[in-house]
Symmetry: D2
Subunit: 360 residues, 4 copies
Amino acid sequence: MSSTFGTLFKVTTFGESHGRAVGAVVDGCPAGLPLTEADIQPQLDRRRPGQSALTTPRDEADMVTILSGTENGVTLGTPIALSVNNRDQRPSDYEETTEVPRPSHADYTYLMKYGIKASSGGGRSSARETIGRVAAGAIAEKWLNARFSESAIVACVQSVGEVEAPELIGDVLTRELVDSNPVRCPDADTAKKMIAAIEAACAARDSVGGTLTCICRGFPAGLGEPVFDKLEAKLAQAMLSIPAVKGFEIGSGFAGARMCGSAHNDPFVKKGEQLGTATNYSGGIQGGISNGEPIIFRIALKPVATIGQAQQTVDLTGRPVELEVKGRHDPCVLPRAVPIVEAMAALVLADAALQQEYRT
Amino acid sequence: MSSTFGTLFKVTTFGESHGRAVGAVVDGCPAGLPLTEADIQPQLDRRRPGQSALTTPRDEADMVTILSGTENGVTLGTPIALSVNNRDQRPSDYEETTEVPRPSHADYTYLMKYGIKASSGGGRSSARETIGRVAAGAIAEKWLNARFSESAIVACVQSVGEVEAPELIGDVLTRELVDSNPVRCPDADTAKKMIAAIEAACAARDSVGGTLTCICRGFPAGLGEPVFDKLEAKLAQAMLSIPAVKGFEIGSGFAGARMCGSAHNDPFVKKGEQLGTATNYSGGIQGGISNGEPIIFRIALKPVATIGQAQQTVDLTGRPVELEVKGRHDPCVLPRAVPIVEAMAALVLADAALQQEYRT
Amino acid sequence: MSSTFGTLFKVTTFGESHGRAVGAVVDGCPAGLPLTEADIQPQLDRRRPGQSALTTPRDEADMVTILSGTENGVTLGTPIALSVNNRDQRPSDYEETTEVPRPSHADYTYLMKYGIKASSGGGRSSARETIGRVAAGAIAEKWLNARFSESAIVACVQSVGEVEAPELIGDVLTRELVDSNPVRCPDADTAKKMIAAIEAACAARDSVGGTLTCICRGFPAGLGEPVFDKLEAKLAQAMLSIPAVKGFEIGSGFAGARMCGSAHNDPFVKKGEQLGTATNYSGGIQGGISNGEPIIFRIALKPVATIGQAQQTVDLTGRPVELEVKGRHDPCVLPRAVPIVEAMAALVLADAALQQEYRT
Amino acid sequence: MSSTFGTLFKVTTFGESHGRAVGAVVDGCPAGLPLTEADIQPQLDRRRPGQSALTTPRDEADMVTILSGTENGVTLGTPIALSVNNRDQRPSDYEETTEVPRPSHADYTYLMKYGIKASSGGGRSSARETIGRVAAGAIAEKWLNARFSESAIVACVQSVGEVEAPELIGDVLTRELVDSNPVRCPDADTAKKMIAAIEAACAARDSVGGTLTCICRGFPAGLGEPVFDKLEAKLAQAMLSIPAVKGFEIGSGFAGARMCGSAHNDPFVKKGEQLGTATNYSGGIQGGISNGEPIIFRIALKPVATIGQAQQTVDLTGRPVELEVKGRHDPCVLPRAVPIVEAMAALVLADAALQQEYRT
């Protein structure tokens, strides 16, 4: 079933963009964790459209309400239901899509799957579905920070179109640094070029893709499972489940495929009381289980499918049509994807950490 | 839990390289499917080491036995238990690993996770664990072929180290073509260069990585789930769960991140009675659900960690040691990974297809 | 995890009695089912306290809102989130329970499990948790009725304390008949005696237990799974998961344990085009799978633990105290349990039916 | 899916009576537990037919082999595969059942479910399927005893037909006492009457049912989940999943339904450093969570369906036939059900205990 994620720290998201609300139920968060809406809202605000001229001007307040699972600002160990009201439930801007499936959108595949021509098209493929994930991820992150006091999960924009930032230095990456410019690239010079690339796409009524890097540091060795639920496998699932993501690589990734073993192997060295590795081509994971080094992965996002240009396509009967999609949309979702990636990483790590608790 | 995969077509693998047997239990395969060991053995033979001079000379017969779930050569709808005996259960070659964790192996992380110094090291991270997957995948594939008569799942080696094959033409890719040379690259000229690259790594007592491409064609639109279990997300999990895999991309993948939406969108066209797309940057999946076009993905494998060269590392106490791993190992696992990738793809697709059955 | 039930037709409930809301998320309901709040509210109204002088006079409106998963009154195939606001979120009446665990309540065991002294005590053990179940069950029932046009699920009160109704005649049992008196016993004479028994318990500031019978008719053969998820096993889990339930029996039940096989076996007979059985000691299930006969089970409910009488017990430090629980409570929950039992039966059957769809 | 049970301590059983083997895969057993076949075989021997004149004379050796998951007699934390070979794979005695479904057997419902007329009839409904459960349960019990040093799970025969033993005194019940006579009733006088009842049934070529009581003592408070996976709910599912079980009651059970709250409530008292209860009508569980008192439940088993007498029934076409089932079968399965009940209880408790580990 596709709307639930996790084995012990479980999240179920709900909601279409044109229904009453979107949200999530988090089941399995341990009792005794201080938690209020103020812990969740900041990441929702980072995800929200309309934060800068670079993103869609739709103003969605996206205020979260905790419906259950806490009392006096502390978790009870019971399901935490989170709800964010939808402001505008009128599907008018999207009506044409019921007869003309938008290219590279989910309208057609939802119709094939469910047999329903909904005015909200592929309702669950909407970016608003990610609200529930971000809210749930904020809870996961709060718990992780309480459990592993040095832990941090930080994502940033690595490239936009052809503009690529220099290799990141993981130790210094913070959310403050990432948020120091609207494109969320920690390298200021590259950020300017990225902004120019996005503005150019916008002017051309087009969209542009890019890549994100995420670093998870301060997590102990031993997290992850050895076979199908390898830590990198769950991260890969989590990331590819985000709309528009087309690729995932851990550590050396695709570049590692061109290396020799003698260069790629990470020799062990003593780091304080524990073992560490001199290099980190493994990306912090060996055999599906964390080794205590920073977990580093990168994902590729395609250019968003909704563009202002007219497109030649066919309607559901196969008749050729020129489709012009109305409404205003992001020319580049990379900056807003940052908190979504962090949320999904937090959900994977919280679940892995809880699964490890019972073994130790 | 890491040893079970799938929602309706479920596989649980078991076995360490030095125990009595490895295998799998497949639960959820529909009743009435003709099935004997002869349907499973061919893919196990393709996975088996010792097939050519390029792979490890250990001769493992790896004969599969069906313990349950069939009668008179037909599935009963009940769990199908599959077992492959291990020939050599002596862990002698690996003994040193209990004190000196091998770099980029799972010895250290297994110890951190389970608190056990087993002579079989990260026992489940052994390549022999994949025997259960390949056997289960062969059953999934048999069912898929019975259900979708035109369907085919074919993987091949796309690159070895720096040697890369030209872009594949999906329609003509067959297992026969793939198996026409020992490196399993369908392009004969590239295959020769790949073989040379592997032999060079072998001579240097080193190893070499590479990439695989997999094409799944003949599957209908509508397979996959909309949120966390998107078809590409489950494929990504499945692939990253294979030992040594470091990256996954669907359709345009990382290259798509450099494109504009106007170029990347796949316009719909009429194909016979159904809609298809003129291009396939989506890789056959939109919004997590198949659209009827070929499903195309690529994965990156690191160079195997076991190399003949001496390596500078430390033992569990942090004391520097020079480690020389005995035993004979593959300099390049890419050719043998082909049936494993096909098996995992088949498991994902069979599970998605069964989940779709109840909706239509 | 305890807050989710079902494999394909999945429900996750949330909410404490003193939080903002209680409710459920239903994932897996097929698309295309007509559904509005009006389909759900009637069973919630039957569950609601304050329906008669026999039940607690607290007036809870319990109006349900569908937050997601439908459009224009039709299900989309996506998660259906259901929410019912709590009116009174002040936990004042229960405050003493944080230091004096109420006998045969969940206060003590929740504290042992979660380490939390919540003013809402065993928050999820509240009868209000069942609101989410009843709402979800109404959706399951709507789908079952659409799928199996002759199907019906009807529960009724079989006994209250020592007052027992005559053996039911399953074919004529309807909800209208059950609701013809406030105690929900279809036999009018017995109902009068039951009412007298409840009134006597009320006058004594005591409570009284009883049994319920549930009949599910019009379901086809083939529903249920052969081993751990036998249809009767899932029904047993579902029923024992309802607060205060202490026993479950299917078909002949405990009486069957005193019989001989020659008397207990249900011989097959021809019924129309299909086989049926001459007797139904099996309760409609053989080997965990439905046989097409009515599914009949009975459950036992203990007398509710909240009584007006003073009770001798100890506080958390072990100091003897006389506990007098304030607030008003049902002397007998049997009548209100009727829609809860029907809801849980509907959830089990909808899940079993969906699991069978993909096999046929 | 019906062949897997448990959330963290998971068991998947496989095998039909006429295939090569039956067995189980246990996933989630913590690493470091001493375990060999000698820990498992004793409970299999208690389950085995042919132990006394009271049970079927078929001599099945049922020797278990551990295929994986241990090394040097210690668990690795990886899946433990267990296999027991079937001796006689010829389905000859049962051939008639393919056309004449046996009354109150699973032949007919399996056919309706799977559409397969297997010579092994309802293959997974065979008593041999329970071999995998008993083997897995022995591992669960070994872990429970290591984790909770005072813990014990003991089941015994409470009644056979109309012969009922006096109320048990839980504290003194041991397996040695239970096994002191072939009918496994701890009361010697009652045991003699039970044996007479079974011999009478045997002489009449009939079968007889009965009840079992199970006591689980030495387990801490806090085990179990609050909603759908209440400890009593999982026990109920586990017990009703055993072939021939028709009823389950926890603590006061059906008798409790006739009581008043003032009599049924279990007042708290100080017991050493912890709280206990003066009475135990709750059966050791409140709100789905253990309270530290002994967990006591009772189950009802129908008389086995296989009897030597001729039965009037119909074949699959509806034509009346007189069915005489050949082969030798138990007139009473109660004694052999004892280790099966203990195994299922151990699986439930091990799973609940592991789920609680990560909370504390």
